[in-house]
């Protein structure tokens, strides 16, 4: 929507500005969320500082990964309701994580969750591939099928475990930031994947713009549509999978952040990709800060996924009233 050409200089400047904004938000979240000024002893402040750093790093990595994944899937599936878990990844990673935590190994649970995500990717690919092509419609259907299956499987696990474990499963499925026990290697991996994903999607951004105008148009303008679809699908699913392995299935970040950015910046994916990286991180950091402040005020812990879900309802109302009024013209 801006008439300015996208030059290298403008791109670099806006990316740096986005990074700076995220850093400011993160720093505020660390200090304010942990009330760093209020601790009596240095050892306590040190502990809380590292806890906050870990939590803000988790929120940033997961928020960035989910926002990028949601943006890519909305472009791939040409569907404004697409979000990172629409292709069954949260179910696959979640079921694997739950089973591993309960029965196999607590330490390996995140790795098993990623394996579950990859298995889901392979399954969706196998189901959705028709005549050698991946089409948005069949991808969506395959995702619906797998989500139904995984939902049933998780329900089964919930039904057969002991009562005290049921509650733990339910709480984990809401999605929480922060853990007892440092997870720096896992956080680092997710952050690295988020940045790598951002870089990959930056190179695919031109293609995302073009496929929005139609598959034939994109192909004629030099986009290898099939290759774009496969790469996007795998990368977006992997980002969603590692996010679930780290923080559980936090919902609505991958849906809301891309849409809000589109309202602010426009539909051009070349601008949206770097924005999604930093805005997604900042959004989840702020949500986590809100959860932290709530916990401090009421002595009741609320998972971050609950807060993001509470944003979902009003957001959908907004979407309904603005976007759907625009004609989705297909001549």
């Amino acid at each position: 929507m801006t008439p300015h050409p996208l030059t290298v200089r403008r791109y670099v400047l806006t990316t740096l500005a986005g990074a700076a904004a995220w850093l400011v938000v993160a720093a505020v979240a660390v200090v304010v969320g942990g009330r760093l000024w209020a601790w009596g002893s240095a050892a306590q402040m040190h502990d809380v500082l590292w806890l906050r750093l870990e939590w803000v790093a988790t929120a940033s990595a997961v928020g960035a990964a989910l926002a990028l994944s949601g943006l890519a899937l909305q472009a791939l599936l040409r569907n404004p309701l697409a979000e990172p878990y629409i292709l069954g990844v949260s179910g696959g990673a979640g079921l694997a994580y739950i089973l591993a935590s309960l029965f196999v190994s607590v330490v390996a649970a995140p790795a098993v969750a990623v394996l579950g995500a990859l298995a889901t990717v392979a399954l969706v690919y196998a189901i959705a591939r028709r005549r050698g092509r991946l089409e948005p419609y069949t991808l969506l259907l395959a995702g619906v099928i797998l989500n139904a299956f995984y939902g049933a499987a998780i329900m089964l696990v919930t039904a057969i475990v002991r009562p005290e474990q049921r509650g733990d499963i339910a709480v984990w499925m809401m999605g929480t930031i922060g853990a007892f026990g440092p997870q720096w290697p896992l956080i680092g991996a997710v952050a690295a994947l988020a940045v790598a994903g951002g870089g990959l999607f930056a190179f695919l951004a031109k293609g995302f713009n073009l496929v929005a105008a139609g598959e034939d148009t994109a192909g004629a303008l030099g986009v290898r549509v099939e290759r774009l679809r496969v790469i996007t699908f795998v990368a977006a699913s992997l980002l969603a999978g590692v996010s679930v392995a780290l923080a559980g299935p936090i919902g609505f970040v991958g849906l809301i952040v891309p849409h809000v950015l589109r309202m602010l910046i426009g539909p051009d994916h070349r601008r949206l990709v770097p924005a999604a990286l930093f805005a997604g991180a900042a959004f989840l950091v702020l949500a986590d800060l809100a959860a932290c402040l709530w916990e401090g005020a009421t002595n009741r812990s609320v998972p971050v996924g609950v807060l993001t879900a509470m944003c979902g309802g009003p957001f959908f109302i907004y979407l309904l009233r603005t976007r759907w009024r625009k004609r989705m013209a297909v001549r």
Partner: protein, 346 residues
């Protein structure tokens, strides 16, 4: 009954290929092959000045009209500019089927030459759109081959192909919220880098494409807010911005009023005459195609039924078996081009 002109009729070859050399055409790449005056529209072949006169009269257009016809800057001239009237794209024996057992193209062979406007005609389901998609390499034929500037189509990398060939589809999705300017700039994407940054030259190309299709005043508006016809012209502008050597258009005037229909075909004529590009346009409108085309290709059931200049193809004995409806062909007194008047029975 069509009155033949004084020129010897070019024999129609069943396989649709043009004869290797029209004896009357000069060699040497002159952009203006001599033609019988009757075949030429009496107006100027380049429509741009006419459009500007309209602009000046009408006023209120966003951009001030330019005083001379502006062509998109040749930012990427093809390595070997195609010789006028030399075949630029040749299809041989194309076979294609979307579902097994139902062939849409069955042994189709045709040629389009540089500097000439070729129109593809045919009844519904005769494979016109499929032919264009095969030529644009959006579909891979199961049999036959396509050669572009002498090289097989599959030898081109997709990016190279996108710099040479522009495809204007019949339908376009417009829900994403892109403005007209952004849409036309998408046409520059084969020329921009990996991250898609645009240069000043890209912007100029887009702007001149907009003015050529008379859509400059929509530049800031959302594509979805335009009418069907306006959107169609923007899509043509996008193809122009691509600076292609070959333009493939699938019914570019389907939703346009008569003024814009002739404006677009005039623009296509300008592209072939003034800029030496190759244009293949699918059309449903026999008269429009007959009025502007240099060559016509008539398809029937996935193969070429007739090919040649309009007066050779637009004849009752050629059209009636293909369209399965009686027609009468007259000659337009003013332009000398054939006119088709359907005479449905009863």
């Amino acid at each position: 009954m069509a009155e033949t002109d004084g020129r010897a009729m070019t024999p129609i070859r069943r396989d649709g290929k043009m004869p290797p050399g029209d004896a009357e055409m000069p060699r040497g790449g002159s952009p203006h092959p001599p033609r019988n005056e009757h075949q030429r529209p009496r107006r100027d072949s380049s429509l741009a000045p006419l459009a500007q006169n309209d602009n000046a009269k009408r006023g209120g257009y966003g951009d001030p009209p330019r005083t001379s016809p502006t062509d998109p800057p040749r930012t990427n001239p093809p390595a070997e500019p195609p010789r006028a009237n030399a075949p630029y794209i040749e299809a041989e024996g194309l076979c294609f089927a979307y579902t097994a057992g139902e062939p849409v193209l069955a042994g189709l062979s045709m040629t389009a030459c540089a500097g000439r406007l070729t129109c593809v005609l045919g009844p519904n389901g005769s494979g016109k759109t499929t032919l264009l998609r095969v030529l644009a390499r959006l579909l891979v034929p199961s049999g036959g081959s396509v050669r572009l500037a002498g090289r097989p189509l599959e030898a081109y990398r997709r990016a190279d192909l996108a710099r040479r060939v522009a495809y204007v589809p019949q339908e376009t999705l417009a829900g994403a919220g892109f403005t007209v300017m952004e849409t036309v700039l998408m046409g520059r994407s084969p020329h921009t880098g990996a991250l898609g940054f645009e240069s000043e030259a890209d912007w100029q190309a887009a702007e001149s494409a907009l003015s050529l299709t008379e859509t400059a005043r929509f530049a800031g508006r959302d594509l979805a807010d335009l009418s069907g016809g306006e959107r169609q012209r923007v899509i043509v502008a996008r193809a122009l911005a691509q600076d292609p050597a070959l333009v493939l258009l699938d019914e570019p005037t389907a939703f346009l009023d008569i003024r814009h229909q002739h404006s677009i075909y005039g623009l296509l004529t300008h592209l072939v005459r003034e800029q030496g590009r190759t244009v293949i346009a699918v059309s449903h409108d026999l008269n429009l195609a007959g009025a502007y085309a240099d060559d016509l290709v008539l398809l029937a059931r996935g193969a070429v039924a007739a090919a040649g200049p309009p007066e050779a193809v637009i004849r009752p004995e050629v059209l009636e078996p293909v369209y399965e409806t009686p027609v009468e062909v007259r000659r337009d007194e003013t332009t000398g081009r054939p006119l088709v008047l359907p005479r449905p029975p009863g």
